[in-house]
Each structure stands twice: as structure tokens, then as C-alpha cells.
Symmetry: D2
Subunit: 145 residues, 4 copies
């Protein structure tokens, strides 16, 4: 199973790290856009739990990714890589976030991916919400069974 | 000036057509994703007013575009063409819409484009709204001065 | 009809300009990647003949395009916009060029577009060649009938 | 180290498999476009040697990848994913191939990636060639030191 964690905001890093850790403990590969804040924290949490991580970065160079990425895909397509980030997850969990995250939620829902927003993140009608990192992971994985 | 009109929903076609017409009357090139409903109606309205229209379609074939497109760009990149649709507009007006439109609003805001949502469309915190097609066009163009 | 002119190299600008002019005289919209050298010269030639021009640029800003573009599509996807450049042409003419041009020839052939290389340009087995700008335009348009 | 293997043609599968195996023995992650023939054989060879494999597919579904992919990135951008395939490799080895492969060689050279073509593959001026799978792997890795 591959689960994408999307979002931004330094104040959401602790939650993202816990989500990364919980996903890795469940045996999921954790996927993010590979840059900083939430994207880094989720991968860091996954690595702390011995998991595998995948970063899908906007630029043409692998070196753009944060140090917790086991494997890096350099797409070279800028913000259009948001599509690849969500398409690559069997499910998507959003933590905090701003406009880029909103675009990813829209694309994920368009593709029919299960999406769960952690409370404290974006307000998007019609998308499932969860109150804690553990509930977000449970909710995302429940929809993959 | 190039203005992108995004959205979907057959019930929003009349509004999209009026927006297309008004934009053309103001001398704007009207840009859409080139498919049906709102994307077709906006171009149809622009053509009815003697305007110029540009369609940016997801597939590899120009023939995918609706018949009101003067010029068609076949991107071949699927939903990732949403980025090109909003990047190509100096401003963006959203009419109705669903998840794809939400992704376009997110990408447009991420790029710093002025975005106006016509009332009756998506609820997105932090994005300007307008009550009528005329007000939407006025609001979008005011932000380009 | 939309015809894409691809290539690079300042020494090929005169040929590209003539190709742009001839395409415009035949009523074709001339499409390029919108930057300098061959991409600029082909659009300049088309405008000199009263034609219509379309630029598909790699970045997120329309202002990246050369001044001879009537309409500009900002794709935001970097070198991946090469796919859009060739998909948007009903036929493709290559003038000079380097690695980016080679990628466009490959993508155009993959999509089944007619491709003609002007002598003096890249050596690619299996792609039609023409000795002069006029012959290149004739050869490209002949394959669209 | 991540090395991308590109190409096509059932007659080149044995060579691709050996290249995948040799790369894995050297500790490289093997990257391909994730579909059949050369793309499958290279990953199969890498897995036979206990290596790690990464597939970057054109569609929106991970299930599109061949069964030898450990991790799959679904880009959703069609042939434009060729850019991601070569950008993701620190070096690129071409085996057999047709127009899509030619586009990848062009993009890889444009990005400045070391590219090695196995003899029997495409003729491209200015790209290093190698006579055997072992020589191709040696040549590619030598350019990463």
C-alpha cells in the first residue's frame, strides 16, 4: 500500500510526523511531494518507524528532496507534479496546507482516491475529516479494504 | 488580456456564456479547458460577441475541443493540463464546478492569479466572490489594472 | 490548420522565418515553443505575412514568450511542454535544433504527426527531409491532405 | 544511485534484463517507465539480483506497472512522463527503442544526464555507445564518479 501525505505549515509537522510513523507501522510506503514542513515530517516519521518513503519533487533534480526520502522521482513539471503525488497514493491524507494542498485534494477527489483531512486543515465540503493522526490513518486505510 | 473561465455543470452554462460574451466585449481572449458544459458555453459566448477563444485540452488531439475554440492546444498531460489552463489566464473566473475546478482554483491561487468565483459555485475560503456574471467580469478585470 | 515549427540555433533563423511566412500565406496558424531563435523567427515570419501565431512556453508566465506570439499558453511544466508543442501541430517542421528538438521529433513521431526536417538540421533515421523552406512547407502540408 | 533504463522491443529483453541485474548488483535502484518489454525486463533483472525497482507510469493507476516494480509512481501525464523517467535517473541507459525512446534520449541529454546507448539500439550522434550490457553499465557508472 502507498499512502500520500499532503499539506504544509510548520505548525503541522508534529501531526504529519505521527501520521508518517503510523503509516509505516502499518506497512505502508509513505509518499509526499518531497519538500519541507509537512512533506518532510511525514517522511521523517516513516523512517523513524523503519518504513519506506517516496518523494515526488517538482524540479529536475533529485537533490531537491528532503533527506528522509528513500527514493526520489524528479518530475520536472513544477506544480503539475501535484497530480503525480496524489495519483501515486492509494489514499491521501491532508495535514494543514494551503493552495497547493487544495489543488491536490481536488485532483485526488477527481481521480476517486480516498481523501481524509486532519482537523485543523483546509475546509473542503464533501471530504472526510478525522480528529487525530491515528483516526486519519485508520480512516484512510479503512477505505482501502 | 487572456482570461480563463473554469467550471462545470450544465446548469451553469447560461452564466458561463454570458461571462464569455462580456469578456469578449471587453477585448479579452477567453481561455478554457476546451471540453463541454461551462468550458464550451464560455467559448460560445465569446464567439457570439466576435471574440477570440483558446482551448487547452487534456488529450493529444485537437479534435477533442468543442467547436467554439479558435485555437486549440493539445497538451497530452491529462488533468495536469489544469495548471496550463489557469497559468494561461491573466485572471480566472470560476462558474459552478466540481473537483477538477477546485484543483484549478488551488493552482491559480498558488500562482498568484486573481480568481473570482461566481455565486452558486464552489465554497472556497479566501477567494473573492461575485453575484452576477457582469460583476464577476468587472471584479476580475479590476484586479488586472 | 496548425503547424508547429521546432528547432534552435541563431544560424537557422532566416530559414525559420521563411517557413513561418510561407505557412501563414497558406493560412496555417504557426505554433512554436515561444522562446528565442528558431521559435521567435518562425512566429516573426508568420506575423510579417499577416498570419496568426501561438506560443506554448515552459514557464508559468505569459511574459516569457517572444513578442511575435498572438496567443500564449503558459504550461508551467518545463521541458514536458515539448509534448504540447508537437501535439498541437497537425504537422511539425524541424529547423536546426539540438537535444530539445530531438525530444520533440521523437514525441511527434510517437504521436503519429507528420514530421519534416529541413536539411541542415538533425539527422534522424526514418524522418522525411526537405531541401528548402518551401519544400519543407509543401511536404508537411501534402501529408495533411 | 538511481539509473534509468529506457527502450523497447521484445528482442532486446535479454540485454535489458542483464543490465537490470548488473545495476542491482552494483547497488543501484533501477528506474523505468514501468510498462512491458525492455521496461519490464530491466526491472525483472534487478529483482532477480535482489535489487530495488521504481516504475514511473504514464497513467493515473499504479496497476498499470509491470509486476517487477517495487514502487510505482503514477504520473497521469501520458508521454510527458518520459521527462520524469530520465530526470529521475542519475544516468540513463538505452536498450533498443523507438520514437518514445528517442524523445527520452533527447530529454536526458537536454538535462545533462549521462546517457549510454547499447549497440543495436538507436543511432544518435553525440551519445556514448557501449558494446555489451556490462560495458553499458560500466560506462554509465563511470560517468557518475
Amino acid at each position: 500500500m502507498q499512502v500520500s501525505v499532503i499539506g504544509s505549515g510548520a505548525e503541522h509537522e508534529a501531526a504529519a510526523e505521527e501520521i508518517g510513523r503510523l503509516l509505516a507501522e502499518r506497512g505502508c510506503v509513505v509518499v509526499t511531494g518531497g519538500l519541507d514542513e509537512v512533506m518532510a515530517a511525514a517522511l521523517r516519521g516513516a523512517k523513524a518507524a523503519g518504513g519506506t518513503t517516496l518523494a515526488i519533487v517538482p524540479g529536475e533534480l533529485r537533490s531537491e528532496a528532503n533527506p528522509w526520502a528513500d527514493h526520489v522521482v524528479a518530475t520536472g513539471i513544477g506544480h503539475a507534479r501535484n497530480l503525480a503525488v496524489v495519483a501515486t497514493g492509494d489514499a491521501v491524507i491532508a495535514v494543514g496546507g494551503s493552495w497547493g494542498t487544495l489543488s491536490e485534494i481536488g485532483l485526488a477527489m477527481r481521480l476517486g482516491r480516498p481523501v481524509v483531512i486532519l482537523e485543523g486543515g483546509l475546509a473542503v465540503d464533501g471530504v472526510q475529516r478525522a480528529g487525530t493522526p491515528a483516526e486519519a490513518v485508520d480512516a484512510a486505510l479503512a477505505r482501502l479494504r
